[in-house]
């Protein structure tokens, strides 16, 4: 296992895909630093706290899960080459178990995903702290939030080896994981919009000035569908990251548990199916 991990990390740091992902994360961090500086010095706004640019490591204002859009293609290409170059078969031929091969790939992916986010946090932290932006969120709250975000990113990364091992085609894996990341983004937006529907809507008088009646909103979600929507948002790593980036987390305790659940379920399913897979 140690040899496999060593080989995987060595390949990771030499991989062009990882360098491209680092460049993309770097560009994203620079973009956020630019926007932060623009808001503080040119627009002379800067009414936001330091935590805002920092938590954008997990997405832009609860809308665009940038880290997922970077890591989905990168990890797919990284793992896809294991199949296209016959590395997986070589590893098995030299006596490694399928479980060890899968787990070493999984650990490499999760570490790479966390490393990219840490790079962002270091860059944005180093640039934004000297500006004197105050921390509007208690550090005791910010730190766990960042840790939960990193765990959610690791959970998201755990889904890629499962897809890559099952699809076994680099390009198809890229298409499936990238499309899934984009679909998850739209799904979370839709579910969040549904949860935000008011229970009653106002009917105004003929001049449109005063509300004369309040009618029940047919789009308002009843308790059971509401709980299902809430659970889905909390369960999906994209949902967790977007909540963290928007600082709209409602149930702190639930997120790390659900992330661990996603990691366990993805790894269990991936391992089971990979062990039965004919590698030809």
């Amino acid at each position: 296992m140690r040899n496999l991990l060593h080989a995987n990390f060595s390949r990771l740091f030499h991989s062009g895909a990882f360098r491209a992902a680092l460049a993309a994360e770097f560009a994203y961090a620079l973009f956020i630093i630019g926007v932060t500086f623009y808001s503080i010095y040119i627009k002379e706004g800067g009414r936001f706290g330091l935590e805002e640019p920092l938590l954008f490591a997990f997405g832009i204002a609860g809308m665009i899960p940038v880290p997922m859009l970077i890591q989905a293609p990168f990890l797919s290409v990284y793992l896809g080459t294991e199949f296209s170059e016959g590395t997986i078969r070589n590893k098995l031929v030299t006596g490694r178990s399928k479980a060890a091969v899968y787990l070493s790939n999984l650990l490499a992916c999760m570490t790479a995903s966390v490393l990219l986010a840490v790079l962002y946090l270091a860059l944005v932290g180093a640039a934004a702290v000297p500006t004197g932006l105050p921390l509007k969120m208690p550090a005791g709250q910010l730190l766990p939030l960042a840790c939960y975000g990193l765990l959610a990113l690791a959970a998201s990364a755990a889904l890629v080896p499962m897809a890559a091992m099952l699809i076994r085609n680099e390009t198809k894996t890229v298409i499936v994981t990238l499309s899934a990341a984009i679909f998850a983004m739209f799904l979370i937006s839709f579910l969040t919009a549904r949860l935000g529907e008011p229970e009653f809507t106002a009917v105004y008088d003929e001049w449109g000035r005063d509300a004369i009646e309040m009618l029940p909103n047919p789009s308002y979600l009843q308790p059971v569908p509401r709980a299902v929507c809430r659970f889905l948002i909390d369960l999906l790593p994209t949902g967790q990251c977007l909540q963290i980036s928007a600082r709209s987390v409602e149930q702190f305790w639930r997120m790390p548990l659900l992330s661990l659940m996603v990691i366990a379920a993805a790894t269990g399913t991936g391992l089971l199916l990979f062990r039965r897979k004919d590698l030809k």
Partner: protein, 280 residues
């Protein structure tokens, strides 16, 4: 005569591969599934006694085609490189221009066929379910033709990217991101270009008194050179999908002309660069 024969043979071979291509049938199936989903969503208001309008549901294929075909074009054209077909075609004496054009023709045809995968269920099931279209047949046909030409233009761009890059996975990532980028750019441009030049006068109540706010120029209104640039960008394939939906009944002729222009430019540039490419 020989060149004509060469293109015919290449087209026959490419179409034969198209009918057997899993990615083509998956693209058609995805478009059909979305069509059925849209019909189901459109039927909901009818069940509650309201009116379901078919027109809005029908036009969505213009938005979807770019996204779905970005994956298809990268897979279909990419396999020409990965399977060595491209080199074989050139080796047996086909000109590179003929190879390029035959691939473009097949991708464009596949794009139009995938759109038909959306249109057919919408017309066959949608008309009996939701009632006839409210727009005239001529407007409907004109809109469909404009959308088909735009789809062909998107395919021309994706084919150019796929023919100039031998790495299928990288091509898939570039094409998918480009398709979404153009779509979101179109939505942004539509929002900016439809801003009113003047904010109309408005009455409001403050401290029990009715006050009137005079009409004033809208600071968000885009004008001058910036507006011209925005309008040019709004005509790009992909962005154009949003414009097609916004002006469905009276699609201006410049839209299909802009698409034909995009096809001409991308094909000329793509074919010229492909002729110089080292196919290894």
């Amino acid at each position: 005569m020989r060149a004509k024969l060469s293109v015919n043979l290449l087209l026959r071979a490419n179409f034969s591969r198209l009918w057997r291509s899993a990615s083509f049938w998956v693209s058609v199936a995805v478009m059909s599934a979305i069509s059925v989903f849209e019909l189901a969503v459109g039927y909901q208001p009818r069940l509650q006694g309201g009116a379901g309008i078919l027109d809005n549901r029908y036009m969505i294929f213009a938005l979807l085609s770019g996204v779905v075909l970005s994956a298809f074009c990268s897979l279909f054209t990419g396999s020409e490189y990965s399977d060595g077909t491209m080199r074989n075609k050139v080796a047996v004496g086909h000109s590179r221009t003929a190879v390029y054009l035959s691939n473009l023709a097949v991708c464009a045809a596949a794009g139009v066929l995938a759109c038909c995968g959306y249109i057919l269920p919408m017309v066959i099931v949608g008309v009996p379910l939701l009632g006839p279209f409210t727009m005239s047949v001529s407007s409907l046909l004109w809109f469909t033709l404009c959308a088909f030409i735009m789809t062909a233009a998107m395919c021309a761009i994706f084919t150019m990217i796929a023919m100039l890059n031998q790495n299928k996975a990288v091509v898939a990532v570039i094409c998918i991101f480009l398709a979404y980028f153009l779509l979101f750019l179109g939505i942004y441009l539509n929002t900016r270009l439809t801003e009113q030049a003047v904010i109309p006068a408005r009455e409001y109540i403050e401290n029990g008194q009715i006050l009137v706010r005079e009409a004033m120029p809208n600071p968000s209104y885009v004008q001058g050179v910036k507006r011209t640039v925005f309008e040019i960008l709004y005509g790009l394939p992909g962005c154009q999908a949003v414009q097609l939906l916004a002006t469905a009944e009276a699609c201006p002729v410049r839209l299909p002309l802009a698409s034909l222009g995009a096809i001409a430019v991308s094909t000329t540039a793509g074919a010229a660069l492909f002729r110089r490419k080292d196919l290894k």
